[in-house]
Symmetry: D3
Subunit: 135 residues, 6 copies
């Protein structure tokens, strides 16, 4: 159950249709997932959200697409965002994350969760050397 | 100010010395950062924590070391663990994360933070298609 | 699925009935939502929880009711509390939050989520001037 | 200690100077707080971050400026972002939040924190009626 | 809907069978809950996860089993982990947590949630005396 | 740096003095820690906060005082509340938590943090059997 109601015929609004067309073209797929169907309740919010996701996640940049999806998923897991976790893990797989990489990812995020709790308990002072790039 | 007091001469305990020696050898550096100096308050906890971090982060695996450090840092940022954020961003730099990759990383983690809030507000149902690996 | 079982006939307990009556009178509605029906498993906990929510949220104070519900919802979204997000957004609407205000609210909470991640990554020192009320 | 080093003479870069000038003009103040001084390490990131904060927080919209700052601060508190908490509470005060409103704000965010824990423990099913705007 | 698919006949893999046998023997029960059935998708991850949970939670140590489950549940509630909250509250009950202790637990975790928000808003400096064990 | 300024002579206000006297008597100590000194900026908020903490944490109940402090600290660690972590770990020690119990506590909270991340990534369905108290 969502806190907003998606429009029943979203593409009757030309602003929504333009965004959906761009999503389909950018991804080379006819599939429009729920986040965009529901965000169509407010075309301006839909446009802005898609523009940002497209610029950050679907535009070539320093990190490869698969790695960006894994970083996005890691944050979403830590923030307990169920939808984001599903959508960005699915995206990582669509962008060629292998089963071995996924298991490795799970090990890293869970070990991070472990030491995050440990260090938030111990409150150890940060080493001055970190500013110099030492590990 | 930490919630534990580190031993003043940690390497006088042979179990601590063995861990510190392994840290130095694994990293090829004499630098021992504070988390290990403070964890020396309990040699068994030190041994177990280092064994896990070494196995997950300092052992060749499917993902490259730099990417693992960025994923680790992403979780730490979301969990607001100050020490972990500093130590794993420093490690990512030591493992050749470039300034361009760091800026890209910042864009991904902050956009994730944005849509995590948006989706946790909207509570949109998860698409069945995600199970199939669609984006 | 909840971690407690609500009583099948909660108002047979006079302490529960007194709380439910007060909820109905305070809100001018016969609707008792699930949090109160489930909390009836422990009448003392029910009484204390309702007393606090009534004092903070249903008693005139410096901030208007609609604003208090939006602040409550903002915290609940960040803490990923699904029930609280639904109940306090519904309450904000019942207390006259407009669609335009809701969209504005979504923009603010998601931008906050974005810069929270960015600043928790950058760990920038707090300006001394903030103590003086400068922006 | 931050994870980036701010440039020593940020306004020697014309892109940075343009952002700082716009901050000064928008706020009617010469004060540039640390987040902008540090973000100057990457002019593009500075431009994008300021553009979003200005659009969301410094442009007239459905909610009044003071209320937007309080909602922003509420999210920042829940996400334990120290810098954001200081900067947005200072901004709320600069935009005329009274001491009585601040205390009311503290009551609302702390009661939300309380029931967020309680409901995340009890995992009570969401009422279908919330979709209809019932409280 | 999970992000992994559990094997249909997990115990046909001898490594999985060995872990399931150990779970049954350790708990004195034939019941294998979902987390183990799903983790069987990667036998090495299953082995490591069970080994850690067994060592920490099912091995005699300084704290009694019931108390450890309540501490585990408290962290899980704060991190909004739905599965973990259900499984560790069920485990606490199986290890003799009484209804009175459960209600007391709910009071403590919710009051902690309240003051966590309040203190993360106020950012009060930590007393030097805490290092000495003063309350 | 806090977001409020504590009064310089808090006990000149009789409401503040009454609370401070009750804190001293309840704890059998002259030490008043910073949270109360700062909360004195608003006597009503001080009274309510102390009344709740006293009722929940300093009044005999089903769980022993030391265990309640550890549960409180566990939530505070997960919510990254620095002040609360220090104050409740100090309180647990003052109420006889042993070094062995503290190390055990650290193991439990860090393993919980680990599996919280793992399960928030895997999103495994909750077993119906948990409602029956099975582990």
């Amino acid at each position: 159950m969502a806190t907003v109601t998606p429009p029943s015929d979203p593409e009757s609004d030309p602003r929504v249709k333009a965004v959906f067309d761009d999503i389909r073209q950018t991804r080379g797929s006819d599939f429009i997932n729920n986040v965009w169907r529901y965000l169509a309740f407010d075309p301006a919010l839909l446009e802005q959200t898609w523009a940002e996701v497209k610029a950050v996640m679907a535009t070539p940049s320093a990190l490869e697409p698969k790695v960006k999806e894994m970083i996005y998923a890691a944050v979403s897991i830590a923030n307990s965002c169920e939808y984001c976790t599903h959508s960005h893990l699915a995206a990582a797989r669509a962008k060629s994350m292998t089963p071995e990489e996924f298991t490795d990812f799970l090990r890293v995020v869970s070990s991070a969760g472990k030491t995050n709790q440990l260090l938030n308990a111990l409150r150890i002072p940060v080493d001055a050397a970190f500013q110099m790039g030492k590990e």
